[in-house]
Symmetry: C2
Subunit: 210 residues, 2 copies
DNA sequence: GCGCAAACCTGCGTGCACGCAAAAATGTGC
DNA sequence: GCACATTTTTGCGTGCACGCAGGTTTGCGC
């Protein structure tokens, strides 16, 4: 019951942060404003989010981590690890939720928000590693962690590039329209790791014969 | 000639930061102290380093980025990309410089410093990507970036684990002795990516026949 | 209901990162 | 050597993150 309230506060902070940021622009929102809008003290804000941008971004990326893990395990057992994992991650960026378009535009326009948004990919690495070991119990812990981290890093590269493709053009402020399909870019970024994933899934303890 | 002076200031700040941190403990050093010891204003400090920990850590990791890139290109052309790259990265953690032992101990003991130290691995990713494309001009830019990022992520996992292996044991403060060989750990962390590296080096544009 | 322990929220104080604009230092053409 | 354009340094002000030490709420056993 206590947990209920905590999640509620989290949610309130997230949505308040996003709403205010969209309304007044990301630089014209102070932490105090968000806290007040959510009905908590400014100090409490930092018990939930350790930076100002984090709350705004969290409104968009809230349950990505758990979704990815679930998606990996949801793939039929026949498909290889590489396909399962890559499809799962790509799927996360296929459907950006409801009000995401405007939010993403704002995030793309602000360097600080961009960086924070890209960093949230890190949160999927833990669950992803667990999902990998669950699907392939033979790969050892370190390898699973490393593979998950590698995939996360690849996704970050893709995200960064997609978000950046905006401000290369000397466009007027607000005119940031990331070009190309994000899912395609993510898939392209993850594909180089397919050999590593399949190799790990097949013969983890096999010392290479030399 | 101007560049000279900047590098000198950087160096002064780095060494001053490390010296003071070792002397008084990492938490008892303010940026004002470091700045004063280096003979610049506190504000200038933040023109060179964007966080307090960064200067301390930089004293240990200063030219790692360029060294890795050089090491990759130094390997004879016959050895595969995977071996070349992995050896180069592992080599970076084989010989910790002169006064590193005590510095590393301090870094391992402070969570903030640990995080910052791990983050410096990011700086090698750019040069590493360049080195990869230089060695294998056929791999496209995105793939090279992704591979470099993946390797960086793997190295971070290894580093984090090594540094953390200390405070698992309920040891008394200061008694943090990372166990096991760091180079071995790093190699183990990077090895899962070997198949991906070799696959990229061999047939990058080959669409998989289906 | 009642008291108690744990978890949580809050105010305060400190140190820090960084934008901004003026001042100082460093090169450049003449 | 002298005026000038650039780059660096610096002081100042603001907002932010977080440790700490109470006060407040929440849930549990009785």
């Amino acid at each position: 019951m206590r947990e209920r309230k905590k999640q509620a506060t989290r949610e309130a902070l997230r949505t308040a942060a996003l709403r205010l940021a969209l309304k007044h622009g990301p630089d014209n929102v102070r932490v105090d404003d968000i806290a007040e809008a959510a009905g908590v003290s400014p100090r409490t804000y930092n018990n939930y989010f350790s930076s100002r941008e984090q709350a705004i971004v969290a409104a968009v990326t809230a349950q990505r981590a758990s979704q990815v893990a679930a998606a990996v395990l949801a793939r039929p057992a026949e498909v290889g690890l590489a396909d399962a994992v890559i499809d799962a991650v790509v799927g996360q960026y296929a459907d950006q939720g409801e009000h995401a378009p405007e939010a993403l535009l704002m995030i793309a326009a602000s360097p600080a928000l961009r960086a924070c948004y890209v960093d949230t990919v890190t949160t999927i690495e833990g669950p992803l590693a667990e999902a990998i070991t669950e699907r392939c119990p033979d790969v050892d812990r370190l390898t699973a962690q490393v593979l998950a981290a590698g995939l996360g890093a690849a996704a970050k590269v893709a995200l960064r590039q997609w978000l950046q493709s905006a401000d290369v053009a000397p466009s007027m402020p607000g005119f940031v329209v990331p070009s190309g399909s994000l899912p395609d870019l993510v898939r392209a970024a993850l594909t180089p790791f397919a050999p590593a994933l399949d190799a790990a899934a097949v013969g983890p303890p096999a010392a290479d014969p030399r």
